[in-house]
Amino acid sequence: MTLSEVTGISGEAGDFRVSVKQNPRYIDMNRCIACGECAAKCPKKVDDEFNAGINKRRAAYIKYGQAVPLKYAIDAANCIYLARGKCRACEKFCPTDAIDFEDKEKNVDVNVGSVILAPGWSPFDPKGVDYLGCAESPDIVTSMEYERLLSASGPCMGHLKRPSDSREPKKIAWLQCVGSRNLNRCDNAYCSSVCCMYAIKQALVTAEHLEGDDLSQTVFYMDIRSHGKEFDRYFEKAQADGVNFVRARPHTIEPGKDGTGVTMRYTLDDGKVVVEDFDMAVLSVGLEASKDALSLADTFGIALDEFRFAQTSSFAPVASSREGVFVTGAFQAPKAIPRSVAEASAAAADAARLLTAAKGTLTRSKSYPREKDLAGQQPRVGVFVCSCGINIAGVVDVKEVVAYAEGLPHVVYAENNLFSCSADTQDLIAKRIEEHNLNRIVVAACTPRTHEPLFQDTLREAGLNAYLIEMANIRNQNAWVHQNAPEAATAKAKDQVRMAVAKAALDYPLARDAVPVTQKALVIGGGLAGMGAALNLADQGFEAVLLEKDARLGGNAWHLDTTPKGEPVRPMLEEMIQRTENHANIKVLKNAALKSATGSVGQFVSKIAVDGQTRAVTYGAAVLATGARESVPTEYGYGEDARILTHLEFDRKLREDAAQLGQAQSAVFIQCVGSREPNRPYCSRVCCTHTVKSAIHLKTLNPAMNVYVLYRDMRTYGLNEILYQKARDLGVIFIRYDVDQKPAVAIEGADLKVTVDDPIVQRPLKIDTDLLVLAAAIEPHASDELIALYKCGVNADGFLNEAHPKLRPVDMAVDGLFVAGLCNYPKPVDESIEQAKAAAARAATVLSQEAMQLDAIKSFVTDDCDGCALCLDVCPYRAIKLEEQATEGNGQVHKRIVTDKALCKGCGLCAATCPKGGVHVHGFTLDQLKAQVSAALVDVV
């Protein structure tokens, strides 16, 4: 429901009634084919908010090219007709009569069991902050504006120009923490979490967009917070590529001398003041709760925190204060895409858990007529040539293409449609199939990526197999790119249609196989993440087998004292363990080891050894949550003195004898012990927050204690920044060190001394301390066995890899495998629980089906395969195995490949590699491709 807002909610978890006001679109979505005629003819120009007002859009518009649904809308506030009663130009030119000025606001009530709130965020507006200079120079832009200036789909088409004089800027500065980590004329004390990475990205992309030797990008920052997976590598690449990182906040941004560019003054660590000019300045603005989000929170009556983000607990990170209402994304707290997407799945998991009883009750399935039997029939091809309004017909002579198509072999019918994709044309195609007994269809229109499913559905409704369609893309690949050569374009369209017809004649019905699904999950690892995933799946009604290598569940959480929010971990952990062990749907196997894994998504089989006994488990999906561990420091005197502890050792001491810790007069924390170093080049993500939390704890035990934190970049991202601020307010002293000038620890008799250079006073500090706490890196467990068993992947640091960091953050590259917790990357309690729920939600998409429908475009083996196995190496999905088979008749053994339909994605690398025609892909056989190529070359060869 687009253009809609929630106006009220009543009821309770499991049975809410939500009132929704749907504002009029003035365009009928069923009729709109997104041809863009309305916008082209609309005379009213409006600032384009998507492009930060840099360019204009019309009052009839789509927000951006990738909008979903791809349907135009009329902006009532700006439409001339709706405001003043005259115009209606769009209505006159709309080819499908989709404009509906009679459209009215609708009020709809929906009955739902659970609600997910994902209203997003707003960028901080720096206009009111005079020293940032937005009002003084057009060449000072926000990062949001710069993003559009830089975008290939933005107003500059990717050709970066600065606003003042439209010249290409050579020298650009980014200013971090604008509207974040700031209490002065701004209430955003938190870190926005994402700005460091987007600034680095913008700096690197800028270098790609510009040419010349005189380019420079400078990022002014306080701490670089590249705390996500692979983020530090990206930061290091930017440094290696020449992006300047300057640890300084300039005072005032002033316009350049001639009215273009900017000039600013900043101070280096040693006190040297630099005045520098830049062609442009980009303000890396932070994230805030949007006004809409606040009114939504008000409507739903959910609690917000002091920064107006939704209040959640670390143990239920997507549950709002109202039962049955879940929150996700930057509305919960500022966060980057990977965590937002994982959190979205977590919210889905919690929402689904609440809906378990109602699961499947509203499912409707579409029925189709029985497929016609084409056995013995010659191909009878029907060709439908689309005008796409004027998109195609404005360049290609479509009538001529139709006439040409009529003369092609096997073609018994051809016609032209204004819009082949419109609903009435679908009816027409079905009718023509009937009238002319067509058994192959060619649609010469746009791209199969967006439109093939639509036409496949039309074929099925007409009783034809869905795979008897070919599309010739005479729009994107022809009319759009040959606008100035209509005759050649028409000739090319004929070529494209001829190729499609040639292939269509060889199309044959394909069946979509179904793989039966064992509706049970295997969860490997019994820590917070593993238990979280198992519990959610079990609560959703799925059986789960939880495999734990140790004698008890709980993993690293046993060693944690409190979460950053101050919640004690132990009671939550004990409750979770109890629920897990007593859950009717969970089978807990302790002291267990995975011995084998065969099969694929829907039907894996594993042998599991428990106390020396081996048992087999069949499961449809698996969640890998094998955890990680605190590394053992090899520096700073660790192991030589009882006063030198790691974080987890410190937490244990805190639990066992806090009073004794409180007696210390001085404590030193050293950060990045074993992290962000050549042998472990990643950030361990949790240590900065753990340190500030611990430092606060010490200061609370003994306010007079001198507490020092020696750090490289403080990475208390998001709301953790508040702890960093609190620690400073309590008098904890933070001292930055460089990795090539690390602190030195000396045990001098009874004294423990730490020496570090202070960058600001430019002198060494020699700290006499009673306690030294080392932020030891988190390192992954060896995962060679898992990798060997599941053929899954790890990154260079040994953390299990997700299929895509942003789009599929908890899926693994192997279908049916999901990942959660520390084994994927270091993360705190709340993020582990989030990821566990997310993995459960994703696993449930497999487990909720009794059988998985597969695509029909899959590889298949022919008798010509001689088992040479060349294809095994090229298959990216490990879908091919080599097997020994007995040859019929003579009983001799020969080798032949077998493909796994559940794993095969139909990419065709095997077929392209095979020298013998031993393996093909349905729908793209060599014969079909050869016919297409021969048709293309008919005039040449």
């Binding site: 020293y131 923490c177 980590r181 700031n182 209490l183 002065n184 306080m222 640890r247 300084a248 906040r249 300039p250 005072h251 005032t252 600013m264 003054r265 900043y266 101070t267 280096l268 660590d269 006190g271 040297k272 003041v273 007069q665 001085s666 007079a704 204690m705 001198n706 020092y708 601020q725 400073r728 307010d729 309590l730 008098g731 002293i733 933070f734 930055r736 020496t755 250079d757 202070d758 960058p759 600001i760 006073v761 430019q762 002198r763 060494p764 500090l765 020699k766 700290i767 006499d768 301390t769 009673d770």
Partner: protein
């Protein structure tokens, strides 16, 4: 990097802690992120190898001897550019003030102390020592000249001790003493605006060097003298051009 600073275990009462007790919210003195925005905007950065960030850092590290002995505290102009942009709104100017205050009066810079003392000599509060007679004479003399020589300002009024005027205007005594013509532009503006204003023969000097001298007692005394002059004439608004 030179000699190491020894940070002893035993908690020491630092100068910074004493200052924090005096200020609301402790002046946020602990909150520093060492970002350097203050130092970047400070006109005194670099003098005496010092800047506001370094000064605060020395305070945080308990380097009290060096903190209290640096002459840099007298180079600060109290312009507040540092706190204006500080993300943590740290009251560095107050830290500087307290450092000044810690210096014995006799050891504070002579120029500032002498100006403070001069202002205390009579009720004009002029740091240049201008008396009520000098002041009245210069104003009247310059005003006469304007009325005679400048077209359109024949009726220019420069009221002195006008009871019940809306605005009581102060004037930095540098102008009447050394650059009297520089008073004219403001007079013209007030004339053209039709403002109801007045100078006073007492408490008219805008400057207050006792503030800069961190002499709180005399700073207050001068402010009270000036305020009394405004009250005595029954003016509504006290305009100080400093």
């Amino acid at each position: 990097m030179n000699t190491a600073i020894e940070l002893e275990k035993a908690p020491t009462s630092r100068f910074k802690d004493k200052v924090m007790e005096l200020l609301p919210e402790g002046g946020n003195l602990n909150a520093c992120l060492t970002c350097g925005a203050c130092a970047a905007g400070c006109p005194a950065s670099g003098l005496e190898n010092m800047d506001p960030r370094k000064l605060l850092r020395m305070a945080a590290l308990g380097m009290d001897d060096e903190l209290l002995s640096t002459d840099w505290c007298w180079m600060c102009s109290m312009c507040q550019r540092c706190i204006y942009v500080c993300p943590m709104q740290i009251d560095i100017p107050q830290l500087v003030f307290q450092i000044r205050k810690s210096h014995p009066r006799g050891e504070r810079p002579k120029g500032i102390i002498n100006s403070c003392d001069m202002a205390l000599r009579n009720d004009t509060c002029s740091a240049m020592g201008a008396t009520e007679e000098d002041w009245r004479f210069v104003v009247e003399d310059v005003a006469d000249e304007v009325r005679e020589s400048q077209a359109g300002f024949e009726d220019l009024q420069v009221p002195m001790d006008k009871s019940g005027a809306t605005y009581f205007l102060n004037q930095n005594s540098r102008e009447p003493v050394t650059e009297p013509d520089e008073m004219i532009p403001l007079w013209k503006i007030l004339h053209l605006a039709g403002a109801d204003w007045t100078y006073g023969s007492k408490g008219w000097a805008a400057e207050n060097y006792c503030l800069f001298a961190a002499d709180e007692e005399n700073w207050e005394k001068i402010v009270r003298t000036k305020a009394k002059a405004v009250d005595d004439l029954g003016c509504k608004v006290w305009l100080n051009t400093e």
